[in-house]
Structures are given as C-alpha cells and as structure tokens.
Symmetry: C2
Subunit: 382 residues, 2 copies
Amino acid sequence: MKIGLLGHGVVGRGVREIIDEGATWEVRELEVKRILVKDEFEMVDPRCTMDFSEILNDPEIEIVVECMGGLEPAHTYAKQALEKGKYIVTSNKKMLAAYCEDLFAAAVANGVTVHYEASCGGGIPWMASLDRTRRVDDIESFRGIFNGTTNYILERMKKEGADFSDVLKAAQELGYAERDPSDDIDGYDVRSKVALSVVKAFDKVVDVSEITTFGIRTIKKEDLAYCAANGRTCKLIGTGTDHGDYVSACVIPMFLKDEDIFSNIPLNFNVIESNSKTLGAAAFVGQGAGSLPTAHAVVQNIIDIWKNQDPEINEKFVKPVDNQTHKGVFYVRTAKQAAFSGLIDRHVSELAFVTKKISLVEAAAAAAAANDETLFIAEVAE
Amino acid sequence: MKIGLLGHGVVGRGVREIIDEGATWEVRELEVKRILVKDEFEMVDPRCTMDFSEILNDPEIEIVVECMGGLEPAHTYAKQALEKGKYIVTSNKKMLAAYCEDLFAAAVANGVTVHYEASCGGGIPWMASLDRTRRVDDIESFRGIFNGTTNYILERMKKEGADFSDVLKAAQELGYAERDPSDDIDGYDVRSKVALSVVKAFDKVVDVSEITTFGIRTIKKEDLAYCAANGRTCKLIGTGTDHGDYVSACVIPMFLKDEDIFSNIPLNFNVIESNSKTLGAAAFVGQGAGSLPTAHAVVQNIIDIWKNQDPEINEKFVKPVDNQTHKGVFYVRTAKQAAFSGLIDRHVSELAFVTKKISLVEAAAAAAAANDETLFIAEVAE
C-alpha cells in the first residue's frame, strides 16, 4: 500500500524509518512513495518533493500521512486528499481538533476515513483501546495527563522546590519545551487532545474553544508547597464526560491525592484512563511524545486501513460543552479576591484560598471576572 | 453467532449478563445458546444443561467459552470442542498454561483458534495490546503485577505495618483471597499468566514448571520495614524476556523504588508493561479481576472471532526457560545461611542479608539448598 508523507520532521522521519526498516510482515506491505518537504535543504531522499500536487494527483497513493503540524496548509492538504478519495492519518491534534467537523464530513462524503491515534498520547494505544472498549461498552468518561512537558515541569518543581520559570527554562534548553511554550503551559495542547478524545469516546464533536482551559503558567512554588503539605500532587489534567445531550470537558491543574496512580506518572510520560460500565477504570501509561512512539501510532493506523480494520465510522453529532454539572472544590491564589466573594470556604494564606464546593462554570466565571494575570487555579480532588 | 458457555460462576454469569443485555450492536449479534452447569441447583435458566454433549454436538454453536476453572474436565472439553471445529475462548489461565502445546496444536489441526485475553489481567486489554504492538514491533520483554490478591496483601501490610497472616485472614473474609490461598501467595497464579504472556508476546511455549517462582507466603513485616526504610515498595512481579533461543521468565517479590509506577498501583488493581523497540515502555492498568471486567475480556475475544479479526495465529515454538542471564541483587531472610556462603554482600539484620549481584539461577539454587520453610527472598530493583 503506497503512502504519501507530508512533513519530514520528528514524526515524519520516524514514520519513514519504521516503514523503510520493515520489522514485521505487516509493515513490509507498506511503502512510502513520496515525501513532501518545505525547502531544498530537506530534499535528502529521492522520494522528496516540494510540490503537494505530485502526491495529491498520484493515483497509486492511497493514504496521505500528515505530520506537518500547524493549521495551514495541513488542513487544506488533508481536505484535498480526502476529496480525492485518499485516507488520512494525522498526528496533528491542533489542526484536526480545529477542523473536526469539516474533515469528518469530507471523509464520509468520499467514502474514506480519518485516523488520529498519534494525535493523542503518542505511543499510548489510547484511541485504539477506546475503539475496542466501545465494541462492548459505552464510554462514560475519561481523564488524562496528556502533556509530557507540563508533567516534567510540575515534577521537577515538586522534587526540587524550584520556581516555574527556572524549570521551564531548563526544559526549553533540554528540548522538552518549545521556545514559545504557550501550547503546553496554557493547556491548549491538552485541550486539542480532550476534543479528539471526546470524538473517539462519545462520537461527539465539540467546539474546542468551549472547553474550559486553565494552564500552569502562573503556578508558584508556594502553591505546590500547600499541595504537598496536604498529601497531594499537582498534575495538569484533561477530562471529558458524556451526558447525552451535552459533554462536560475541561483542562485544569488538579491537586490529586499522592496515592492516585496519576500522581506517580514520571517525567515525560502520559497516562489516560477511561471509565465504562463493565470494564471499569482502565488506564494506559506510555511515552507521550518522541519520534518513534508517535510514529509507531501512525504506522498502526496505516495498518488499520490496510487491513480494513478501522472501526465503523459512526455518525458524529455536534454537541455543546457544559460544565455546570462539574462540581468541585478549587484552590485559588489571586490578589483580586472580590470576584470570588461568597464562594470562599477558607483562606490558606494571605493570597490563597479554597472555595466551597461550586461548579466549574462558577469557578471559571469568577476567575475571568478577577481579571488577574497572576491568578492560579487548581481543582482539589475529592 | 451462537455460543456454548461452560461454567456459570462469577465469570460465566458476567459473560451471560453482558451478552443478554446487548449494550452495543456488536454484542447484539451474539447469543448464549447453552450453559453447562455442575448440578441441578444451578439449573436457573432454560438454557442450562448438565450434559456437555448437548453443546459439543450442537452444530449451531460455533464458539465454546470455558469459564469452569480447574484442569479437568475443562481441558478435555476444550480439546473436544476444538476437534469439532469450534473456537475456544477461555478465562482459565491454569488450564491453558498447563496444556498450551496440546490445545494450540489441536486448534491449528482443526482450522480454529484459542483466545485467552481474560486469562491474564482481567479487564486490562493486555493480550490485545500485545497483538497490536506486534504488528509493528517485536516485543522484547514484559513485567507485571498480575495478581490483585497479593497486591492487596502487600499494600495493607505496608500501610498498616500489619502481619502477613492477619492481612491474609482479612482478605479471605472479604472474599479477596481463596480459602486455599496457595495459587495467589505462592505465585502459581502469576506463573500461569507469565507463561501465557510469553506465548502471546514471543510466540514461544514454555514448560510452566521451568519458570522460577517465589511467592510472599513467608514475608514478615520486618522485611517490609527494611524495604520501606530504603525508599522502596514490595510487589510480586512476573517478568519475561525473549532471548531468541530461550526465554527468561520468573515470578518474584521485588523491592521497587517508590517512584516506580508499579509501586503505586492501588489495592486489587493490576499493571502490565511491555517493552518494544519503537513503542518503548507501554503500561496498562486496570481491574485485575472481578466478574464484569473479566467477562468484558471474554466478550471482546468472542467479537474478535465474529469479526474474523483474530490476528494471524503464528507458529509457536517450544523453548526452554533459562534465567542465567537474569542478574540481580537479592534480599534474603533465612536462619540457614550456609547455602548462601560466598554470595552475601552485607547483612542488614541478624537473619537478613543482601547478596552480591548474582544470577537468578544462583539465587534460586541457594534458596533451595537452604531448605528453610521460612526463607523469604526478594529481588532489589536497580
């Protein structure tokens, strides 16, 4: 089966290497025919081209693997490929989360499918396990540590009592964090993964901007000191719950109990857990990123297509996100506390307090009303 | 697709309930036609029978699900069903591990397959994930906490500083441990699961009695106190590593570092981890037992057969177990220390010592030579 590869960066190179190497008979049935690169410096292989139309118009290429990153031209290329009746495999969570409705509709209209196991959890077979579990069970909810960079930062802050900015700088120097770290530390990367997990777990498409999202940019070591003193560990968590007519979904730092499995996920690993009726809680732990684990997930999807083992593409329903039923106790640190008046249960320091049990909607509204760039908010696990 | 169910205990009832309930369209394609029960008191459903031949000779029944437990008649019934061209799904690790070679040969000879996801890790999609990973990668090794009962006992001993016998008694009263607890506390249950994981991960059949096996029957709170004082947590671990011509495999209590994910697996949960070239370390956490999670795994296998999605049944090779290359440092407590002469690095109490780095073969030989019923041995993780 012949593949056109878009992008020859960390993931794209990994995909090419795994397929060229052909460690199993399944992989040896695959062939990377063309590789789209950005400029002449990347023309390192006779299969490389800078012209997407050579891939788009090649009838032998049945699968287009998109590992370019960014919104455009990745979205346009993926859509054009679907309209030509080519299957899409993508590791680009940001693009797919933003254009879910558009691309799934194009796939259905052209009798092909979009595969995105690599978009979420890197080497964790999360999407595949959701597909499998759903043959027997409805998925009720999921939660995960979806981002290795923030997990690395939070763990080093905890272990070393270090400041956020110092650890972020070290992570950037080690290549664990981007030079512009916003996607990671503001929670947007996790938000995209939550949106795609909602699609896979519940067959529901949500507007990614409706997912309540808090990051760790404003965290201070004093927040983690309070957290640790109460037998807890702070992790950036993404969750989703199916309520039929709507979905609740958010990204928020959580103070988890130390004995929670999630509290003990090391450095740049990810963990994701699904809950369903007969299977109960099932969690998956693995390397959340890295060239080969992510490329492994891409190649698994290619084999799914080749074996015609992709699950039935169920109809997707566009549904609203509503976090009114998400109730919890929140730790907040802000100098502008008036916005939280009536919601505070007790102060734990001059600037920090713990709320009464309130809805995430109330907490998010108060946090927005405070209009304090230094505000930090975390949910305290029950 | 019509199913004959052998056994109507905890797992069998779960399978019947999930299929009768039919939560998904896939499950609604299945039907439990007959249920083999032991005696008249179990004839609670019109489908029940006490006569296996009514299942064996029913040409409509294409799949026989064996949830009887025990070696016989489970083995004989499974073999007869295979010889009639019926598929076998079993949750009975003890029987399958003992008769692997025999039953796989019968399946190949009759053009059918044996499925055993539920035999290992209950609700954890461990076997399915191995199948999936192996489409792209060779599995190099695995390790797991495969037994919830011993995990429960070790965790309560650690938390409460309690004695083994008291916690075992409490576990028996709660129904977490059998009245005859040998399979759990002597490591035989884990040994069967290691043997079946070796088959699935490496396509190699081993003689289950060759797997070096130590349990936790002789553990004392002083052992756990030493373990905790050194920042470690004791877990009963099963492992396997492929070496081509042979397999190393064992069951042994391990003093794991507290920050190891495995140290933080709660109560009656299981965790299993595979290591492979491109995917790296991937771990699965879930309920290791219980009616519905185990039944869920059985139903998944039935759907695999119905969808004809069982993986290629690779040829299985009978290989020896050899733990000569398994090197480690061992904690040993025994009054009969002469057998360990020359192997001891340092004493940690009057009766307990830590060995030099030696092979598991040396450690096991010395432990056998000591001939001390109270001897406790654990491997100290590096």
